[in-house]
């Protein structure tokens, strides 16, 4: 497979939904007739997910990724898998990779394989020490990074109610404060809807973190005056957050509700 950088750029734009209709048609025709081109698209999907997770996309691209690329459950699964793989590789100690790829014997399990990285031509005692240290690091990293709550749905909630602020920045006392530890399984946030909202309207919520990273949040409940979202305590990190509300039209179009709901976690 040896596609030009222009082809690769077209595929990326196609995946983000930013191509013109003519260009999109050309890409789709090639997808149906060229095996290499189709395979490149599959690779580009995974690479786009990684670029999103590693914050390598521009602000505009991130927006397109969230609104267009993530529109189907299949793509959302890709994102979920990408996150899991990222977490897994981040948890592995740096040492695990230093010796490079060595082919372990058939039937070896993953811990044998990991061991294969560091057991070439070392004195026995040194190797044992390295193996022990590796186990301690892996177990320690896993223990520190594993979420603290149990394996059940949240039962207790800390609740805050946020009002829509027309400002784009949380200033002074505008942002509601949440203090950690939460002393509850999850934080329930009730977002007061703007006046004159239609009771049957559908919304989506996006959370912006202070570093610019965004995350869609599932809506847990809705009534005529408010919608509520739930964030498990284990996923709460300290920082400033802005929640943005989008009104979903029957034609699939989205309209951003002006303003933000601010809160800080301390």
């Amino acid at each position: 497979m040896n596609l030009s950088s222009e082809d690769q750029s077209n595929i990326k734009q196609y995946l983000l939904g930013t191509l013109t209709e003519d260009a999109r048609q050309r890409v789709e025709e090639r997808l149906l007739t060229e095996a290499d081109f189709f395979e490149e698209l599959l690779f580009s999907e995974d690479e786009l997910v990684d670029q999103y997770l590693n914050e390598e996309l521009s602000g505009e691209e991130r927006g397109k990724f969230e609104q267009h690329f993530l529109a189907t459950p299949e793509r959302q699964q890709k994102l979920r898998f990408g996150k899991a793989l990222n977490r897994y590789t981040s948890d592995l100690p740096e040492d695990a990779f230093k010796r490079g790829v060595e082919t372990p014997p058939a039937g070896a399990n993953w811990s044998d394989r990991l061991g294969a990285f560091s057991r070439r031509s070392q004195p026995w005692a040194w190797r044992a020490g390295v193996a022990l240290a590796l186990v301690v690091v892996i177990v320690g990293a896993w223990w520190l990074s594993r979420p603290r709550t149990g394996g059940t749905s949240p039962r207790t909630f800390a609740t805050i109610t946020l009002q829509l602020s027309s400002s784009n920045r949380a200033e002074g006392g505008q942002a509601t404060k949440v203090t950690l530890p939460l002393n509850a399984d999850a934080l329930r946030i009730s977002l007061t809807l703007p006046a004159h909202s239609t009771p049957a309207a559908r919304y989506r919520v996006k959370m912006m973190k202070s570093d610019g990273e965004t995350e869609p949040l599932a809506i847990a409940g809705q009534d005529a005056q408010s919608i509520s979202i739930i964030i498990p305590a284990a996923q709460l990190a300290r920082g400033r957050f802005a929640l943005q509300l989008f009104l979903l039209g029957d034609d699939g179009a989205e309209q951003r509700i002006n303003g933000n709901y601010f809160f800080t976690v301390e």
Binding site: T72, P216, L217
Partner: protein, 184 residues
């Protein structure tokens, strides 16, 4: 076999004959086209991509006996023309609705981790290390690291990219199956 299914079988046979005189090869081409149609509908934001691809194929099957006589060119492009019509119809009937991905629960994250570990263990020797090295989360040195890895394995960087992605696809499939079997 009733008349309708007999007709459909005849139409399906004529579709396969149109795709390739060799029936096995025709079957492969049929799958090739179906898979790509699903991907195109997915890329257009349709959560019902598989359904729409099958609807496209059904419509082509019904027309196949006549189309075969008149149409010149790659049959895949004929499917594409029908797919575009199906897409327009479906947009009128069911506009796309953006459903944000649900935030993963703690127990789901733990389950994913376990499934991933299990699936890594099942990979053929060498593939586990390759995929973990290729995807290690090291933004700064990623390009150089992958280049070194390709050199160590004695393959071109693009060949490494292809290998890593194919292993990743298998891994994702395995994790998905594992999660479906043992939901959190």
């Amino acid at each position: 076999m009733n008349k309708q299914s007999a007709l459909t079988q005849a139409a399906f046979d004529s579709l396969l004959a149109w795709l390739d005189p060799d029936r096995e090869e025709a079957g492969r081409k049929y799958e090739f086209i179906r898979r790509r149609l699903i991907k195109i509908f997915t890329c257009r934001g349709r959560p019902d991509a598989e359904e729409l691809a099958d609807e496209t194929i059904n419509r082509v099957i019904l027309k196949a006996p006549d189309v075969v006589k008149e149409y010149a060119g790659d049959p895949a492009l004929y499917f594409y023309g029908v797919a575009q019509k199906i897409l327009l119809e479906s947009l009128r009937k069911r506009p796309p609705l953006f459903v944000p991905p649900p935030t993963a629960r703690t127990e789901e994250i733990e389950q994913e981790h376990e499934c991933l570990e299990r699936c890594l263990e099942r990979l053929p020797p060498g593939n586990c290390e390759l995929v973990l090295e290729y995807y290690r989360n090291d933004k700064r040195a990623k390009i150089n690291h992958r280049k070194e890895l390709a050199e160590r394995l004695g393959i071109a960087p693009n060949a490494l990219r292809i290998r890593a992605h194919r292993i990743r696809a298998l891994l994702q499939q395995c994790v998905q199956t594992c999660l479906e079997r043992e939901p959190a």
